[in-house]
Subunit: 249 residues, 4 copies
């Protein structure tokens, strides 16, 4: 981190100047609003056309494992909407019933942590990412989830995106997937990374808002905002289910 | 977008409840602060160990093309720190002088726009992403940049990340790159995506704060915050240059 | 290369032994046949179910550029079936007429050759791979080809496979491609690599035999054999066209 | 497969013609030699500069699992050099002793076989690829192998190449790997695919000849030939060990 916050100050000064000299083009829009306020505003005003569902959606549930869901047990856990996992189960059941793929990802690493790479080198506590070991309690899916271990696709990912160095690309090609619904956490981490990769791979991408969660309000809403503007349809879970039921109808 | 903003309201209510029943674990930290305030706070308090420079850094300058830099000419352009391009030139010169790779990426698409994929289907104005055509003025690098077209690596990327479906992976392997410095724009779009992919590929990742820019203050600081917490060292350009000069010394 | 050819000798001896002691399981099937003979045999006896065409095929024409097609001008050029390019044009016209993607790849490198990586370090003559420079005559498509530069997808690849670090993945997802027809050269190099990646990505993969070419007969037929056994339907161009015309019918 | 072998015939005729009309450029070199003979010739005459070892090699042992190594038990198994596994153990011990990464890959699929994709759709017998199930005997490493399950990197790959949709890329970046030694089987399948990807990613690539095996002699030698010409140093295991011991010295 830079010492102090000079760059910020410099920019603010410039902004004051541009108020004084109105011929100057305002270069960056400024705002004192919180991300929650900005996202709420966007929801009221967004008129951007949606990606919508195509013909073959897949559901990716990102890292709904105890390290992140067992609030009270692990310092790394968090909860946003208290009904998140219930909604995720509902979505998964609906996907399965219609024959669409259901994916559950989790992170877990070797004893050496070397598969966490440089990411696992900044701290070394039991809560550090690279210390979520294969087979550990932190790596287990939350007990409240309904997972079909026979049928669903389980992916041990190591990095932020569910697509990064995993076999989802070829499996989705095999199934002709054209739409990806992303749930899980964190909104500002692995969900965001998965959404960016999903759209980059040219999948219509949907985020049911109540199904993603984060540790902090600021990044949660800031990333919902970014995803809604750039990469995904951010919908209520109710609307996601409604649209899902119309696929192929 | 969901109608109204019910999920937000629901969560806020829950937060009030947890103030009433203090035994309940606070599930998500709430805050009314703006992203600028949160990032300024983080800069003052962040004690996280840095990734630091390794032995062979590369510089990736993301999408510093007229569509995004010519404020006043294109509606999609923006400016954050007015000296951004000057700093980028300084970094590039320093990298070249030390024999380290310098990469310039830009986006540009076929006439059909099909290489922009589903991303290019939500709007169709001259400012739409898929309408930045190969050879167009919008696709040209900013005239203020000093690019060595013989020596530097020029990449026509199509998606957010500079690594996505481009040859940077093999070129960086060839050069033994272990550290990536990312500049350009937007902070909340292609810079963020490049940074996530860079760390995922296990490169030490550095973002010189004054060298990245965005259209809006909120996402700019929210993404600096996310990157600083999760994926990168966010440094001042002065400190980046100072560390760079010490590589191999 | 190992000095002498001991491993070969050792194995042959073992084979003699196993003829002597017929109770021993023959570990590797031996044969003095040429690849041409083995492939001809396979064509007569192969009863393996075909992948067949799906609903949306794409055509990838691999490296039909002067360095490899101008026999007499470049030492690296070759010709197998003299009507190869004519057949490729016919296939491309048929794909275009039916609205299916047509891709032309070529290799070409920076002046430094660094984007050829370690591959470009074993020789340094005008015919060396890394010396096929962007904009050079060697990098140009053969003049006999009919390419729609507006509509077809042109890809500057650097490595063997047409999919490696190129945007074909996302473009094919956008188009819902499920079948890939591969032509070009060399059979034992970039065609083979493209076919392996195509099947790995779960595309039904087709090779029209007369449309692929190689410098030497041995590798040409050995790779047709491998591809037919493992990765692709190897068809005559006539049958490829016939099957193509039935897609969607 | 095309009916009959007309394309072959056509080409042979052309070759006869070009003997008659010597002004015509011979377009493809013809030969009645077997692949074994061609490879033996190449070993005697090859003067091509080697890639050689860099500073940090990794060892990838490809699919040395019972389905492919238990000759007599599984129809899909094969053996070429009877000391193959002994040599592989020797290499692995040497890599470990020097702190270099050792990777063991295997194929194994979900009950549905969907992660085998279109590749798993041409047959459906117990020996079919997609029927090598996770946890099955066919998926187990050969009992003769000495694997350090704590320290070595174990990869469940699904497709031919050890790099395809696996985390070897990021792990190798983390370790600064610049050289890859490939053993295992089959020479004409997963070894070849791994070698092509290894070189494409710009790793110096080495194949110790006695350490790779195949079901049939023809493809074994044809692929050793292709790899030696195009993608790798094909060395004896003795020379590989000798070079390995000189790394960093």
């Amino acid at each position: 981190m830079p010492q102090g916050d000079e760059p910020v100050v410099k920019m603010r000064l410039r902004s004051r100047l541009s108020e004084t000299f109105p011929t100057e083009v305002p270069a960056m829009e400024l705002s004192d609003k919180s991300s929650r306020q900005l996202f709420a505003e966007l929801k009221r005003t967004n008129t951007r056309k949606r990606f919508g569902f195509g013909r073959k959606p897949a559901l990716i549930n990102v890292d709904l494992q105890k390290a992140y869901t067992c609030v009270g047990e692990f310092a790394t856990a968090y909860e946003t909407d208290p009904r998140q996992l219930e909604y995720v189960n509902q979505l998964a059941a609906e996907f399965r019933a219609r024959g669409f793929p259901v994916v559950w990802t989790y992170v877990a690493y070797m004893d050496s942590g070397e598969d966490c790479g440089i990411w696992g080198t900044r701290s070394n506590t039991p809560d550090s990412l690279q210390n979520i070991k294969v087979g550990s309690r932190r790596s287990e899916f939350d007990d409240r989830l309904v997972i079909d271990h026979q049928r669903d696709i389980i992916v041990n990912k190591r990095m932020a995106s569910a697509f990064f160095e995993t076999n989802l690309g070829s499996v989705f090609n095999f199934h002709g997937v054209d739409t990806v619904v992303v749930t899980g956490g964190s909104t500002s981490g692995c969900v965001r990374a998965t959404v960016v990769d999903s759209l980059s791979r040219s999948y219509r991408t949907i985020v049911p808002e109540e199904c993603v969660a984060d540790k902090h309000e600021g990044p949660h809403f800031a990333n919902l905002y970014d995803m809604a503007i750039k990469y995904a349809d951010v919908l209520s879970v109710a609307e996601t289910l409604e649209q899902l039921r119309r696929v192929g109808a």
